[in-house]
Amino acid sequence: AASTKTALDEAAAAYMAETGRAAVLSYAGSPALARQIQLGAPADVFISANPGWMDVLQQDRLIVPASRLDLLTNRLVLIAHGAGAAPLDLETADLGALLGESRLAMALVDAVPAGIYGKAALAALGQWPSVASKTAQAANVRAALVLVASGEAPMGVVYATDAAAGSNVTVVAVFPQDSHPPVIYPAAAISSGNAAEAQTFLNYLRSPVARGIFLRHGFGVSDP
């Protein structure tokens, strides 16, 4: 997944420094990468932002099931335009009324993980019916963030990692973890790839150094 670029680049650099072996990283959307693997991409490891695509590859026996692990986690937050927006209580606030004529920026609610999770969370909180017709669905989380940052949409649902670095936006609420399926970035070795090399890299990503890097970039790391 492209959204992990900075963190993974740093981890790969550390891996290189430690082992002397280079990891070549190709970033693209999960569906594109998954299809490329289905059609013979010469890759060793797949890291996805969407467990669904990992499941597909697993069904197709394209990954080594034993190597699959949940590498990273993330949190879903509600952001608002402007630097000093006031916090908001998701349980009590009427998002629909707050939006008025304007729109709530999200990733595609039926297609992209952040959108799917966001829709589930809003539904669980009883907010979905009032905002369903007011969503502006962007192609991915970053685009949703831009809509809020530019002020085009007053509020949006994005990942915590994106919100942290975004200028001109404020996190006004964090969605409760139980309001939506966990945000998980699974990783696995690809069966047609170099299994040993893949396992070494995956192991490294779970090392304390790598975990430190991920945490620094705002990701959560699931327990080993």
């Binding site: 959307g29 569906p31 998954a34 669904g52 695509w53 499941d55 597909v56 729109r103 920026a105 595609l108 039926d110 297609a111 992209v112 969503t135 502006a136 669905q137 962007a138 192609a139 685009a143 949703a144 831009v146 809509l147 530019s150 002020g151 085009e152």
Partner: protein
């Protein structure tokens, strides 16, 4: 493709109709401006000509996502142009008009290039002849140049229309994807392709999209042939 699959759901139909509307408006609205710019680039010398030329080509050069961001900055309700237009009731953000604007801007360089080539192929001697017969510059253009560039105009329009039908990156970035408002065919196709198992739906919509564009293409070829026949065997 079985009968059930071929049938489009209401939201999909919406996307088809919206795409048609967006593309038609984008092409038609861009056409007069494209003709003007193409004519100016082909025939006139003026300061800033190369700048204009570069500006026209920008949407082609830039990754569509970047174009989308730029549109957002300029034509969004908070943008300099978008803000001003909002005062007089013209809003692009999150409206189908915004999708048409994005599609039109992406199609613009293709239209200008095709038309410009045609203008350059018109012998200025014929325009001179029209002038001696009493036609002012504007009338010269309307009665001689315009009919003679029709093939390029048609080619440019169909290129533009096809591009507008396929445009996705700039559109979704600028106006996102709101069903019935800004969810065009390509946005819908993209959505389907994001989820595992969405391929068949995506394929259905892709075929619809191809069919529409090919019909436009065929019509344009027919039209162009009639125009060429009209202009006679030279």
């Amino acid at each position: 493709m079985n009968a059930e699959a071929a049938w489009l759901g209401p939201e999909e139909w919406q996307a088809v109709m919206l795409s048609l509307r967006v593309s038609l408006w984008a092409t038609l609205a861009a056409l007069p401006l494209a003709v003007f710019v193409a004519y100016a680039l082909a025939r006139w010398q003026f300061p800033g000509k190369q700048l204009l030329n570069s500006l026209v080509h920008l949407p082609l050069i830039l990754p569509p996502v970047v174009t989308g961001y730029l549109l957002l900055m300029v034509f969004g309700t908070k943008g300099p142009v978008g803000g001003a237009l909002q005062q007089i009731g013209i809003v692009f953000a999150f409206r189908w008009t915004g999708a048409a604007l994005a599609a039109g801007i992406m199609a613009f360089p293709l239209m200008v290039r095709a038309i410009r080539l045609s203008v350059e192929a018109v012998d200025p001697k014929l325009e001179q002849a029209a002038a001696t017969l009493g036609a002012s510059r504007a009338l010269c253009f309307a009665t001689v140049t315009l009919p003679m560039i029709l093939p390029g105009l048609i080619a440019g329009t169909v290129l533009g229309f096809a591009k507008a039908m396929g445009e996705f990156g700039a559109t979704i970035t600028f106006v996102s994807s709101i069903p019935g408002q800004t969810q065009t065919l390509p946005s819908a196709i993209y959505t389907f392709l994001q989820v595992p198992g969405g391929e068949s739906a995506a394929l259905r919509l892709t075929l619809v999209s191809i069919a529409i564009a090919l019909i436009a293409l065929l019509l344009s070829e027919l039209l162009a042939r009639r125009v060429a026949d009209r202009a006679g065997g030279r």
